[in-house]
């Protein structure tokens, strides 16, 4: 995926890798490290928490925990790549786009995801996809990563297996 990002961007100039809380952040960090070891360049990166921009805050129950957002001081004229673990309905990305707009005007925003499970509710597409997975309704895709969950894995969970 790191290679594809560099290819899409035609280089590392003005590149900003932004991970979406929570697991997207760790994936973004890994991509930055890979680019660094491959190209010898440290590209700018940041973390984005989209909780406050969700469109379902009125209907979800108790308020979700808000994570940290930290971005380079300006995004004007930068080429942003949003990184997330799973792309499903597309609403998370919509919220991320709204939030990024409050920070400046990037010259381009692209989307890189580890898993695309289909089921879009909005016209959102990923420019770079690690893996496409077909999942039945009622099933969930959980991505686990070493830094947070102790291992790297992609797991499909069926609803009635949950507690």
């Amino acid at each position: 995926m790191a290679d594809q990002i560099i290819e899409l961007n035609a280089g590392c100039d003005n590149l900003v890798i932004v991970g979406i809380q929570r697991r997207g952040v760790q994936l973004a960090e890994r991509i930055v490290r890979i680019i660094e070891s491959q190209e010898g360049v440290t590209v700018a990166s940041g973390a984005l928490d989209i909780t406050l921009y969700r469109d379902d805050l009125q209907t979800v129950g108790p308020r979700p925990v808000v994570g940290a957002t930290s971005l380079p001081w300006t995004l004007d004229d930068q080429r942003v790549v949003i990184v997330d673990d799973v792309l499903y309905t597309g609403r998370t990305v919509r919220a991320a786009l709204d939030e990024l707009a409050d920070f400046g005007r990037p010259s381009r925003i692209a989307l890189a995801v580890l898993v695309d499970r289909g089921g879009r509710e909005l016209p959102i597409h990923a420019d770079i996809v690690g893996r496409r997975i077909d999942v039945a309704p009622g099933q969930r895709v959980d991505v686990m990563i070493e830094e947070l969950d102790g291992r790297d894995d992609v797991v499909i969970v069926t609803r009635d297996e949950e507690a």
Binding site: D49, L52, Y53, D56, L57, Q58, T59, V60, G61, P62, R63, V65, V66, G67, A68, T69, S70, D98, E99, D102, F103, G104
Partner: protein, 319 residues
């Protein structure tokens, strides 16, 4: 279905330690929003919040207004002087009239202890206590605790001394409830005529001299001394108060270790606190103000719980 704080924030006495920590933790990301160029998130877009202030207040009201606007809520300020009896319209009627205009939340400051609870029991909107009589001022104590936590780390075992007119101070009371729940050691220092006589039963140590407090504490929260207290005969004079209890740099110089100075404002420079202390290196008074907006945003965010009936309607719509 109410959120993790319930329907209202009436005080810190009804909250658990976990709930208090949740507010402090939630305030941290909200602080970041006030650093942005566009200091706004759409979280409470479309929500209507009424600031119902029966007592004059500039700083608290402005702080709440910033918090509300930065969350994209629509705010309305209602300033009303006097009690229900003298105004001619009862508190209940005022609130019900507002509610009939379909509002979501009320932030109330009132001169009678228990007024926020009285209102909360009678209207469906979320009610936030911005100070009721001599009872509680929970958001002030929360921002005090956030400021302390930033500088001192976890509050358990920390020594905080509240200085001044504790008897009439809702800020002091909320701080006492909040700090003791998080395991801090709390003391008060002030003229005995301005301390409630059940104070020790609230789990609080009493110092009769400011020097003792300074020797003991990690932080002093210095309360404003009101002129009315002298006029009502609780203390002989402001001058004497400053001589015995004033936080001066000479006294602070005797502190065995670094000591933080907090003050809820507005300050009577030269009475309870000297100017060089208020503006000096120990003072975190301006941090308190910054944290105030973040804490209030966190409270509004946590109280505006979801409405599951909308979720049901949405599901049916999408079928």
């Amino acid at each position: 279905m109410p959120g993790p704080l319930g329907k209202d924030l009436l005080g810190l006495a009804p909250l658990s330690a976990d709930q208090i920590r949740l507010v402090l933790d939630t305030a941290v990301p909200f602080r970041e929003i006030s650093e942005r160029t566009i200091k706004k998130v759409p979280t409470l877009r479309g929500a209507t919040i009424v600031n119902l202030f029966f007592e004059a207040s500039t700083r608290t009201r402005i702080s709440f207004e910033f918090a509300e606007k930065r969350l994209s809520a629509d705010t309305v300020n209602v300033a009303s002087a006097g009690s229900s009896v003298s105004k001619g319209e009862t508190l209940v009627d005022t609130a019900r009239n507002l509610e009939a205009m379909k509002i979501d939340m009320v932030v109330i400051r009132h001169g009678a202890s228990g007024a926020a609870r009285f209102l909360a029991e009678r209207i469906e909107s979320n009610v936030i206590n911005a100070g009721d009589g001599t009872n509680e001022h929970p958001t002030q104590a929360l921002l005090d605790m956030l400021t302390l936590r930033d500088r001192l780390g976890e509050l358990a075992g920390r020594k905080i001394c509240i200085v001044g007119d504790v008897l009439h101070s809702r800020v002091a009371r909320s701080n006492i409830w909040g700090l003791t729940k998080l395991g801090a050691e709390v003391a008060v220092c002030g003229p005995r005529s301005l301390l409630p006589n059940a104070i020790e039963e609230m789990g609080v140590t009493v110092f009769d001299r400011i020097e003792q407090a300074i020797e003991w504490a990690d932080a002093l929260n210095v309360l404003r001394l009101q002129l009315e207290r002298m006029q009502a005969g609780y203390i002989p004079s402001l001058r004497e108060y400053n001589r015995v209890f004033g936080v001066t740099s000479a006294r602070l110089a005797q502190a065995p270790h670094d000591i933080l100075i907090l003050h809820p404002g507005p300050m009577n420079r030269g009475v309870e606190i000297d100017s060089d202390v208020a503006d000096g290196p120990h003072s975190v008074i301006l941090d308190q103000v910054t944290n105030g907006v973040a804490v209030r945003m966190a409270v509004l965010y946590l109280l505006a719980g979801g409405k599951p009936e909308l979720a049901e309607a949405a599901k049916k719509g999408n079928a």
